[in-house]
Assembly symmetry: C2
Homo-oligomer: 250 residues x 2
């Protein structure tokens, strides 16, 4: 009775919907347990796919916000420009993650999203998403959890930046990557970095030289092996100790 929300299936073209809904939207719908009709509703609004080449912008700071983006494949970074032109990396994002949440509040993007390798994303028009959230409450609840998880993630970074030393930050960073790769079915101990030392440093609040030195130190201690962008974690327990311990010793 109240609020006769239309089903919103008037974009028509929906050939890729189920592959899109089931694959790249795993953040959004996998854990929700939708029925067929609901998946169709969701698939309808996620019709747009977008391909990005390395270095390409998904969106830029200052642009009007209209859609969230679910990463279908690839690797992106988000970064904000400071007034003086330098940039700080605020996050690295991989397959299955959702980008653009920060822009909902002001309806303007507050950061740039840039592909670190060739990538593909699904565009999710946000007002449409809100509309079907009303029809599919489980989707709405899941969306709230995703936003909340982003808050938790940011607070963990705040913790890292506020109280860890260079080596602990790098250990924490590597373990975070490791976990995320492993969740996606890749090796948790053997992977390639997609970002430069400078980008890592920017994210961790360190200079690139410090990052490089920290890598070397971990390698000297035989905890990891570093060869350019290729990382091999040789002693993951020791690496975990590195992270949690010195904040305790110090």
């Amino acid at each position: 009775m109240l609020h006769d929300s239309p089903p919103h299936n008037h974009l028509g073209v929906t050939q890729i919907r189920s592959s899109c809904a089931s694959c790249s939207l795993r953040e959004l719908c996998l854990p929700v347990g939708l029925n067929d009709h609901e998946i169709q509703l969701l698939g309808d609004i996620v019709s747009q796919k977008r391909k990005l080449y390395r270095g390409g912008y998904l969106y830029r700071s200052g642009l009007k916000f209209q859609s969230l983006f679910a990463i279908r494949r690839g690797f992106l970074k988000t970064c904000v420009l400071e007034e003086d032109g330098r940039q700080q990396v605020t996050g690295f994002h991989m397959t299955g993650e959702l980008l653009g949440l920060d822009a909902i509040s002001s309806e303007v993007h507050t950061c740039d999203a840039i592909a670190l390798e060739d990538s593909e994303v699904c565009e999710i028009p946000f007002t449409r998403l809100e509309d079907i959230s009303i029809i599919i409450p489980s989707l709405m609840r899941h969306f709230h959890k995703i936003m909340s998880r982003e808050i938790v993630r940011d607070q963990n970074v705040m913790l890292l930046l506020g109280s860890m030393k260079a080596e602990e930050r790098l250990a924490s960073f590597l373990l975070n990557l490791s976990r995320r790769f492993s969740i996606r079915g890749y090796s948790e101990s053997d992977f390639n970095l997609r970002m430069t030392r400078e980008e890592i440093g920017s994210y961790l609040g360190l200079k690139l030289e410090t990052v490089s030195r920290a890598f070397s130190k971990l390698q000297d201690e035989n905890i990891i092996s570093v060869k350019n962008k290729h990382i091999l974690i040789k002693d993951i327990t020791h690496l975990k100790l590195k992270m949690g311990n010195s904040s305790c010793i110090t």
Copy 2:
């Protein structure tokens, strides 16, 4: 010396329910433009008020999450305990702000919320909030903006922690407080801190001595005047320069 007294006290006329909805829930419903029936719906779920004394816990890390809390009056901090027992402050929160958003994802509180002065909050059972979001889409949309704003806020802190020097951090912190006081009708240049130097330091990723020194330096430069917890901003433009500039010079 009572620059902290509330300037316009337009509450108290109405009964508990709508005063709660119209005053302490300003984060939630003021900008939404609800009609009477909707305000009543909202007011119905926000029936619980809770009083906190200085030092009291609103919630603790590890507790099951059930409600968000809107601050009706007072001043709180949120902080996480690290494994070793020390704590890091993740935020300071004042009247009208919403607490507990980080707990939605895991349904367990990930931080402690502690009153820095006698405070009063409204409890908002979260599942009820989600339920009526379905009935009042404008409320849902507003809630999404609130969560998103929290993400933006955290990212700004990340920026601060990642790239600013001690003095810039403190300047940034003071300006942030100033703005929030001013929004609430208090003086933007004359206020009392509710937190200790140690808590400020924890929030800014600095030691309390460094905070103290930075205060003294700003005072020596005649930009602010500090007397214990009482702050007087004497040259706000200069203070703003302090914040934005050195990150540029450096």
